[in-house]
Symmetry: C2
């Protein structure tokens, strides 16, 4: 395979820069908290499935062998299984700018979008009457959000109106009940303006539900600071919770008493072991619980969150931007002009922690990249997606990925 | 502690019977497929959390270290993660009398009750019009089913009417859309007549949703044979899937095209990676999927189901009845008359795989039993609940449990 497409002088200069940036990186040591083989290649798919934190295998072995195998049913109390959804929620809270007691973990993101959006519509109607009969949904959203929003609209008698985030302020009206928005676009990596959009939705008397799947663990969210009412997010991307680890639901403290769940399972009852005929919701965020949580997946996530000890999310954000800046710079230097087009905004305030490059043969290109050890993912029809997890991605990885990409595109 | 309450002759005779029954038990060797310390006591809480199958720890270690830690995102395809919900469903199928392709695993029981019940109401209305505006729910049900049914009623504009299973045939009318029933009562262990109740519900033009939490893995269910349309069940009781392992949803083959889920997540899309704006449901039972499944919990369940290889559910049922018969006999022989009252029916056709004994101080009694190594559970206000998992409970365990119970009650 020819490497002639990568100018040797640029490569040498950027590789040297990468070494320097890694040497100066205050977060560099965090990579040691993950299971990553130094020789194996470059993993840039942490925005789909985060790498394995090093403490997880032993923890899960203990959960299986001792907590389940020996203590069995006693573990619901003695091993803290019963309270894990709130406890793990409180571990996530500082990463998304939330005070304790507002996040509960469990179920999938889709199920949590459903809970939050139904609850949002109900609150809007409680505030303003049944004239609130429209749900706005981000037209560029990850599809499941749109499908679930459609179901919520149908079950609550609302109309569903897809609009781009930029169109939201103009689309808000006295009919708007709820607005489902993505903090970071899953495809392009564009970061939307959470503070101003939240304020606009609230000013219209509606409730915003934020999907934080692609921002939680990658950048500061500031849920409390910006007065967000409801948010959901996944934990297997930048939070490294493992395949299909449970999602989280944020319910702002002052809305918890009003959170009227469409999935009022016994785990959210005020007296769950009372086995009462009549549903009486618990106080607090645990009102968002439903049925018995998948303990293995939940406790793997709990262990995974320990890698964040002492890690300020602001430092993660700074490194994330440095990584994506550097990747764009390396791509510009190495890849022949016009061969790829970046869909990811250049402005920092509009960028998440991924870079999406459009090229016509993206599917084939990604296969070849993976064969050469650079793992990103392909999004139809023509997008190469690279995620940068600041906890374990190095600048040297970034330079190498861009170089291999250029070689692959040129071959 | 005095043992004078247990007549020595009876004890000696029943202990000898237990040894003989264990020696003749064709399923006795299955106990070796579980992690159970011979000296530790008697575990009669498998109807709450099944014991740990011996093959699970190594399997989960492999899932964590190799599939997640090394293959990472590639495991969705290479390790079969993506198709696990259907594959594990097909493992459960023979245990509940279902042909392949009708069961999908994922989410909690509560969430699956929600899906099934909304889908049932929608089908009834498609068949007979919107006049179908009533949901019947087993008034003796595990509470979460009633709470979820209440939510379904509210979202679909139905009335919710709690009735006992015996009252169902008389309560059915041209208003009935759906009926949510338990196969085995969680508290008393009473087995309800699934074939005749299903037939009655269908004759009324409605759909039955069966909750199999306390029968799946304990006795033959015969879903296909009895024409059941929709059923859900949990997998951490008699199926030993581990704490909070995902629930299952059965959708009869000929209803799959009509299954209109209220939780149409992207995992149930006909082309999930097409990332289409418009929801188009997949064919088959996987239409019951929602979001990304919790892989650790799901694959622990898959490993746990391997203990069933070569085990006919009819043999399990025969041993289950022998165990509960023997327990009732030992209790009658050992426990002073009038000290406890069995809530569990004597007739085999009305009994699940547990025995519920009422006594006024049940909470205290269960604490003392557990301290002496006999683990059952307490259900408020006054019920001692003992579950008998035929795969690993021995007749000697049964005799010992009854003896310790008598001693505890007499002390």
């Amino acid at each position: 395979m020819s490497e002639s497409h990568v100018p040797a002088s640029a490569s040498s200069e950027l590789a040297a820069r990468a070494r320097k940036l890694d040497a100066e990186d205050g977060l560099a040591a965090l990579r040691g908290r993950f299971v990553l083989d130094e020789d194996e290649g470059v993993y840039l798919d942490g925005n789909s499935l985060g790498a394995l934190p090093a403490n997880v295998p032993d923890r899960i072995a203990d959960v299986v062998r001792r907590q389940w195998g020996e203590l069995r049913i006693r573990s619901w109390e003695e091993s803290g299984w019963w309270t894990a959804p709130e406890r793990v929620g409180d571990r996530i809270a500082p990463l998304v700018g939330a005070a304790p007691g507002q996040i509960v973990v469990g179920d999938s993101t889709s199920v949590n979008v459903f809970k939050a959006l139904v609850a949002a519509v109900r609150m809007a109607r409680e505030d303003h009457g049944d004239g609130r009969d429209e749900i706005l949904v981000d037209a560029t959203t990850f599809p499941t959000d749109g499908y679930i929003a459609g179901s919520v609209a149908r079950l609550t008698g609302c109309a569903l109106r897809p609009v781009t985030p930029a169109e939201v302020p103009g689309a808000l009206s006295s009919r708007t009940a709820a607005v489902l928005l993505n903090h970071v676009d899953y495809r392009t990596g564009r970061l939307h303006d959470l503070p101003s959009l939240t304020a606009a939705v609230h000013a219209a008397g509606a409730y915003a539900v934020w999907d934080l799947c692609h921002s939680a663990g990658a950048l500061p969210v500031g849920l409390d600071e910006h007065g967000v009412g409801l948010a959901v997010g996944c934990t297997y991307k930048y939070l490294n919770g493992g395949p299909g680890s449970p999602a989280f639901l944020y319910i702002r403290q002052d809305l918890q008493d009003r959170f009227d769940s469409p999935l009022p399972g016994w785990n959210s009852h005020a007296d769950p072991f009372g086995m009462k005929d009549v549903y009486e919701p618990a106080e607090g965020a645990l009102r968002g619980r439903v049925g018995t949580p998948g303990i293995l997946s939940l406790l793997a996530l709990e262990a995974a969150l320990e890698v964040w000890e002492g890690v300020p999310i602001e430092a993660v954000r700074a490194k994330s931007l440095a990584l994506t800046d550097f990747f764009l710079e390396c791509v510009a230097a190495y890849v022949p002009a016009g061969r790829v087009e970046s869909l990811t905004p250049v402005a920092h305030e509009e960028r998440g922690s991924q870079v999406a490059l459009r090229c016509p043969d993206a599917g084939e290109v990604m296969k070849r990249l993976i064969a050469r050890g650079v793992v990103g993912d392909f999004r139809r029809p023509d997008v190469l997606r690279f995620g940068f997890t600041p906890l374990y991605v190095r600048f040297a990885d970034v330079e190498r990925a861009a170089r291999v990409l250029a070689e692959t595109l040129g071959s």
